[in-house]
Assembly symmetry: D2
Homo-oligomer: 330 residues x 4
């Protein structure tokens, strides 16, 4: 249940609601909106009813992520970027951090294409235990340096709650991978930090699953969350690794206030399909994009086939910004 | 197997290949390319080998639809439109033809938004036998008049091979619905006409299934085919009717020479998601779009919830053309 | 809406309901249950309300197939079999009728395994137009003879409404294939005959889609329908052609009165997985099974890899009957 | 690559292979079979080639789990049960451990139905952070007592690598939930223990994904693994929570030596569908089953709708053992 308080009774109303419910259930506050888990109208004392403008009873489980609780957009500020505002945010970089020099080179190219955030994996969730698993903390250092040198921010995946503290020393944004979308322990741990979190939709996660996973982060106090659509698993995967579900973009924007980012690289898995899907992602209304680049894809330590070469990336990026302009122009 | 003949030996080569194979198997010719079903290199007489530039052995079952057999784009000309060229083709209209007056009004609005082709169903494939099944031949007449009055072409669904002859009297383009994508008898019957066919991808059809279905049409002699992506069935259908598979657009364009059209209306099933998906469809590189419009969606006889009102349609269409410009500009 | 009439007022009640509604909407009668499409309680005259025991308002679109309208099981009698009763019904035979002699031989083996019905396709719905399309009417004759010679019934696919009359001359049961599950014109045409129909679930048909497709048959007067689960299309098809959805068996049995048959051969597509799936199908409570057999699978004209050799079939069949016994014993 | 050594050269061959490869790559040994990751035939010294009976080059990434590396079945011994042998293994208990008394009562009922292992969750992976999350270590104690009192073993879920040590103090078998199937950090941690692990297939995990996930456990030294099929996510979930993929049972048994267990409760999510699916699971050839029971499902703290009441459970269990008998009899 969400109680929308009268503007002039907000302070008192919140106090009264906390007094009534805080020791029994969870109470969340956003301006004059108070969500009380599990309560029903009849539980409300008369004094609260008097201070109430509206009571919303049909509320999703993931209440903090809902527009009903938080109607305005969430805007996330990192040192060099504003995510969720009018500007389209490009994030680019190699799949894995491969070496100090390489990631530095990739960051510079990313920046040239308009990216404010450089990506790169130091801990890699690989299907097989025998595949390259990432450079670990060394990789984080290299990525941090590459970001700093280019006056960019960095985003990197954290796979394990035990690593959160260490990764936090380096990164501006945590990425939670698709396979870990329902690793609740990890979600709660990043939820206890104040570092923004980019949560990837699981391969077969419904929209509601994704919002509930985000709620695990928010429930621990961190609401600097962005959601990533990266393709879902369907019956057809002969020519594309996944099916890019762009319908999820406007659906999420209607249901939640968190910024929505698209990942065309993982969605299709093949570089020559990435540009059309990047353009489609921008056209669908996404607030930003994360994309993989590599100067020598055939030598990449992971996911080479889906990496854009620098030239292709630069052309793609320019058109992406233009499409964003058209879509958001009057 | 596809035999690519030397430019100076085309005529003789074709004659020789037909002589060798035409009574045993199917032989298809496109310029200097000859596809011979089921044959292998060893079957070829020396005289043909001499006239041969290249032999392509890894050929898909749907050979006539393949770029290997027909590298250049297929461009379809209807009286008022060119489908598959540089221009983006808009097709719009009501889901069902509802009355003479209504479809005329809708055609005028469609045209105002830049559509050259008006759509409308006179035979409706409905999940339940007790739902409205369409006006039948009367509906075809109304749609024809509406198209003519506005100097447009018309597209309409044919559901049954017994109706092909009758529908042919009215329409410029046959539409084959998703449920009939593998109604092989219907495919063969429209394949015997010389009217262009818009083939919708079935709900769970793979890319290869779609190309094989198109091949049923081509195998009867009609290669004026366009392919429609209209959303596939996946695990997530709470907020969208289907999952719009835009990755299919560049994949199809790589594999086949037929024009690829997107249908954002059926893909999402809800009007306020149609505009972002229409923009995404154009950005993905589709050559055209088919979209449902209605002035009073709540009174529509079918699929009201997904119809765009005229104003929304006009705004969407304008942006769609702009996005197409950006994507196809240098 | 379904009106359940008092036992002593059935005749009068039906007459009154028909008088009130028959010229406006569809009225279906089953014993003392009358379904009136689209009507609501307030439409009912007082005299009918008096004769009414119960009004069921939450009724599915596919009302005639529903247990609410028809609580008792439908039992289908063919010359040599009773489908939907206590006995487990085996149907077996080759995928395609290949020759007079071959189908005769296969029928004898089918019979030896306990089958009362022999299957075989004379019209084959093939993904590619260049694959073997079946022997046509000749194949029907051979199958008829093979059935008669062994005192069995036959089941065969009809793919096209124009063939219904011809196929009706030979067959005891029409089979509608998965690709044609929503070929509404075909469904209506077999619905006008009085020959039992085995309707296969489409590759991505939901339970409700299947029941609505069956309703197209019933709406034309033929309620001798059985439903076939044959595997659905999911994300995993590397090792099995489809995913056998055995949960559909008890779900259908709860919702509808039509007999439910399983087809393990198409569900998995590989012979050495057929026996475990056949056993699982019987254990799930299905009323019968249809299975493909071939003495020389490697030479089969279609679907060889999924055909059981005679010995395997005989062993499988014996265990299937035993499992059915265990499951249905007290 | 797998090298199958001559019987009389096993010891020497292993030593030689380790000498050649152990410092460069992973070498796994099973009897006379040695898997060398990433090596090719040309890497082998002559002395090894001489001692070699067969070289298998087409080997899956998950090599230790493969029948090619380990042809014989893995049989797991817990204090009171043998999993993977001829006997069908029943595991039953409540979804969550709810209280000391309740789980004790449920264990006794489980035992009465033939279960040798009692299940119960103390740490619950819930879609929403606001749902009941389990009793934690207290729950583990209660379950341990309930198991001991009834001379049974216990299985319980571990959700987090930080809990592995604590859960290990109580449990006989770790369960890894579907959502954690690719929580690689957790997999590696249980892989370092010597406690058997029951790994649940993820909601959209392919067969290969599941085998690769198991390989993460094996790669750390623990090969006491059993695999659980618990339903996958497909387009159809109106009447069943998931689609029970029983085809996976014989497929897994062909590919891997690990025992395969079925979980009909989560597969369908509704109690009255559990019995037919349990019977189907046994008939498919599974080596065991895990099922949820509750005496008062409407009061269950989690997943009440899918719990079998004691009487239904007892009847189901009896038939399950009978079906297993039929299927495995000669």
């Amino acid at each position: 249940m969400i109680i929308v308080l009268n503007e002039n009774g907000v302070k008192k109303g919140i106090a009264a609601l906390k007094k009534s419910f805080a020791d029994k259930t969870q109470v969340f506050v956003n301006g004059n909106r108070v969500a009380v888990q599990g309560a029903v109208k009849d539980d409300l004392p008369t004094e609260i009813l008097k201070a109430t403008k509206e009571i919303i009873t049909d509320v999703p489980a993931a209440v903090q992520g809902s527009r009903l609780f938080h109607p305005q957009d969430t805007i996330i500020h990192t040192p060099h970027a504003v995510i969720g505002g009018n500007e389209f945010i490009m994030m680019a970089g190699p799949c894995s951090v491969e070496s100090e020099e390489h990631v530095r080179k990739m960051a510079a190219i990313a920046k040239k294409g308009g990216a404010k955030i450089v990506r790169g994996g130091a801990f890699k969730p690989r299907t097989s235990p025998y595949s390259f698993q990432g450079l670990g903390e060394e990789g984080l250092k290299y990525l941090r340096e590459a970001a700093d040198e280019n006056e960019m921010d960095m985003i990197t995946e954290v796979m394990d709650d035990e690593h959160v503290e260490m990764v936090a020393k380096y990164t501006d944004i945590f990425q939670i991978g698709a396979r870990n979308m329902q690793n609740f322990s990890l979600l709660k741990t990043v939820g206890k930090t104040n570092i923004p979190v980019a949560l990837k939709r699981g391969m077969s996660a419904t929209i509601d699953d994704l919002l509930n996973a985000a709620e695990y982060i928010a429930s621990e106090g961190n609401s600097q969350i962005m959601l990533l659509e990266r393709g879902i698993r369907t019956f057809d995967n002969k020519y594309t690794r996944n099916t890019f579900d762009l319908g999820a973009v406007p659906v999420l924007q209607r249901l939640t206030h968190y910024p929505v980012i698209v990942d065309p690289s993982h969605a299709v898995g093949e570089w020559d399909l990435v540009t059309p899907m990047a353009l489609a992602g921008a056209a669908s209304g996404a607030t930003g994009m994360i994309v993989e680049i590599h100067d020598e894809p055939q030598k990449a330590l992971s996911d080479g086939p889906q990496a854009l070469k620098p030239d292709t990336y630069l052309k793609m990026a320019q058109k992406v910004f233009e499409v964003h302009q058209v879509v958001n122009g009057k």
